[in-house]
Amino acid sequence: MPDSTPVFPPYMKSLQDALGSSSDVVQLPLAINKAEAQLLFVKTVVEGSIMQDTIIKPFYEIADTEKFAEYLNGMPNHLQIPDSEEVLKKLVQGFVLIYCNENYLLLEIRKLKNTVPLQTVLESTIHGPQSAFSEDLETNIGIIRQHYHQPDLFIETMELKDLSSRAVALAYDRKKVNTQVLRRLKEQLRQIDEPLIQSAGDLAIRLTPRKLNIFPVSLLTERPDRTIYNITGGKIIVIVDGSPFVIMAPVLFFDFMVSMEENYHTFFISLFNTILGWTGLMICLLLPSFYIAFASYSPEVLRTELTLSIAGSRIGVPYPTFIEVLIMLLFVELLTEASIRLPKSINATATTVGGLILGTASVEAAIASNILIITIAAVAIANFVIPINELSFAIRICRILLIAFTSLFGLIGLISGFLFIIIHLVNIDSYGQPYLRIPWRDKSSEKEVGSG
């Protein structure tokens, strides 16, 4: 061995010891002529080709320790050395530690994964953009920047304190954002004390101080166009590394009822779609309870012919309506869950067996009335009209609450329960902003907006 073999610096040695003898920890000495340098990195999180091009190759070309150190200092992705804890964290995140000219230096050469924008799955539209966010933080920030060319767009990055040290970024328009909400959101982000956070959904739940929620107080979306639309509306976007969803806050209840499709159609078509969405919401929420109320409590409310046909179709059903409704609703909920879990190729079988055969058979076996089958089918379909998935989950739970109210108190219980839900929605807030209120264009609130 030539005597020019670089001396292994003690600090680097201690770091390597701390990392242990994992097979992907690489300690690489570089030496040519009199020049020498030491690299320490974790192979699996560092992009090999970039390291080859920007560190190793230049080293042999420059072949001078001092000049190489200058070169490194000139690179945009370099970082001064923080304390050892921090350095270890950086190393496992994809930084390369370089010892050169008796100096230590960190260079970010992160291996980027999942940078390809995905297809929209949950919120697909016909005319809107078809690609969603990717699963990489920086790519996602890039997507937002590229769609919103405003110098006021402000990006703040921070790191969560959990085990995965997940990188999180806040994006907002500095001129439009509500500073109170921003302060509150940042505080919440700092206060999070959760061992592991893996996705945007996870984070969104932890961000709310109330634990027993039915309705989501922030909105998850996979659509860049919805994100931009909301940034222009003064909302704050939280992007989580490794998640194709971004979190938006604060939200109004009405935000959940907006399908981006509505922006891509003529006025009347989108009006029609909006009305359709709200009708779907109401059907999904109220129809089973109305069935119970009309069939069991107040049959005289409906016109006589309809009452008779409901009563007629219930001939042979051995138990009260609310049990009937609960049984059929349970089947539909199971079916919905099953079709989410199943692979797409088997999916059709489940729906056919569940939907067609079960429905017909249960009527023939006099377990449920024909009209109930229609009701439940309408409810199941209407459930999918709600544009944002999170809301449709919440509505499914509220539906059960309403069924309970109606079973106990009849038609009045239904009205009472419905008002109860409204009052609950009015009561909760999303980062200090009222959740359910009529979103008038308030001119005075536009003035309150300050700088970030």
């Binding site: 016109r303 108190f409 009472s416 009015v426 359910l436």
Partner: protein, 368 residues
């Protein structure tokens, strides 16, 4: 003017149909109901004007806060208790009447306890909200019911059963002597604006256009009074209308929707008025609850971070309301609520005195 003010006024006016007011008005049908209502209308507008003018002086401050700042405890405590009782009873009258309406028209087989409880669960929850949330809830409910209301009122006024000759007959009594009971019942329909004593906290902007606001309130009032008074006469006939227990609901029951899924319009009315009176009870009780909260806070009920005094207050509200609902008969309800309405002038006098005291305290403040 803040839009929430109109919601409060509108809510209170619409909700009078589920109070004994329609029949109290119609009792005077063969006497001086019509001139009294005109008189009541103008008095109501005048009082609304003074209410607005007073609270406009103190934007963003509620009444208890003003009393605390400018009057002594000897005045503040009894007045607050008196107001709390007045507001609680206003809500309770609506509640009892609504329960009677429901048990008569919608669910006759259900136990009266169950009906009262089904209403009270939601109301109790609503009472405990922040005042701001109550306002938002009122806004949402008003927006939900306005389309139904439009449809129903058009249906009522265009109904072929509505006999305008009967209405004309009732107008023959225009030149009779005014009746006190009708006058106070009319005044009550303008009391929505009095809810400002708590909600003024959220009305932070000064506004000078009182006359415009009062005119709009007056227009609401004319519409409500005309609907409340003449619709039952037109649909039930003039002669015996003062003997009906539920003149208004019986009138609405005579309207039929030929092609509707629901054939009898009265059920749509029920939907509409149940929602409106739910919110009306909530608002009244909320005011009462806030007034009581300004007086009492029991430290013994402190459990960790929560003080349970609000829950205790509402529990008492609910218990008393259930007791009253079960105990009162229809006849007693009408008699006692007539007493209640007749006592409204006392309320106005107490109000005027405290208003004057607060105003003096405020004007003298810079010197002190």
């Amino acid at each position: 003017m803040n839009r929430f003010l109109y919601y409060l006024v509108f809510l209170n006016m619409m909700a009078i149909i589920t109070t004994p007011i329609p029949s109290l008005l119609l009792i005077g049908a063969h006497g001086g109901a019509i001139p009294t209502m005109v008189l009541g209308l103008f008095t109501g507008m005048l009082i609304s004007f003074f209410f607005l003018k007073f609270f406009n002086k103190f934007p963003g401050r509620d009444y208890t806060e003003l009393l605390k700042a400018y009057t002594s405890n000897y005045l503040r405590v009894p007045v607050t208790i008196y107001f709390a009782i007045v507001w609680y009873l206003a809500g309770t009258i609506t509640l009892v009447m609504l329960t009677f309406l429901l048990i008569t028209f919608l669910t006759p087989e259900m136990s009266i306890y169950l009906i009262a409880i089904s209403i009270l669960i939601t109301v109790a929850f609503g009472v405990l909200l922040k005042s701001k949330s109550v306002l938002f809830a009122v806004e949402i409910i008003v927006f939900l019911v306005v389309p139904i209301a439009f449809f129903l009122f058009i249906k009522l006024y265009s109904s072929s059963e509505l006999d305008w000759d009967q209405v004309r007959t009732s107008l023959m009594y225009s030149n009779s002597v005014p009746k006190y009971g009708v006058f106070t019942a009319t005044l009550f329909s303008f009391s929505g604006i009095a809810n400002l004593i708590v909600f003024n906290r959220y009305f932070t902007k000064r506004n000078t256009n009182h006359l415009g606001a009062v005119l709009i309130i007056g227009l609401f009032g004319v519409f409500t009074l005309v609907t409340t008074y003449f619709i039952p006469i037109g649909l039930n006939g003039f002669d015996q209308v003062d003997r009906l227990i539920f003149p208004w609901t019986s009138a609405a029951d005579s309207v039929r929707m030929k092609y509707g899924i629901v054939e009898r319009a009265v059920f749509l009315f029920m939907l509409f008025f149940v929602a409106i009176s739910f919110m009306s009870i909530t608002v009244h009780w909320h005011v009462s609850y806030k007034l009581i909260q300004s007086l009492i806070r029991i430290d013994k009920l402190q459990m960790r971070n929560n003080n349970w005094t609000p829950f205790l207050t509402v529990a008492v509200f609910v218990a008393v309301a259930i007791y009253l609902t079960v105990w009162l008969t229809q006849y007693q309800l009408y008699t006692y609520s007539a007493y209640y309405f007749n006592a409204i002038p006392i309320f106005i006098i107490v109000w005027a005195v405290t208003m004057f005291a607060v105003k003096r305290g405020h004007d003298n403040e810079p010197l002190a």
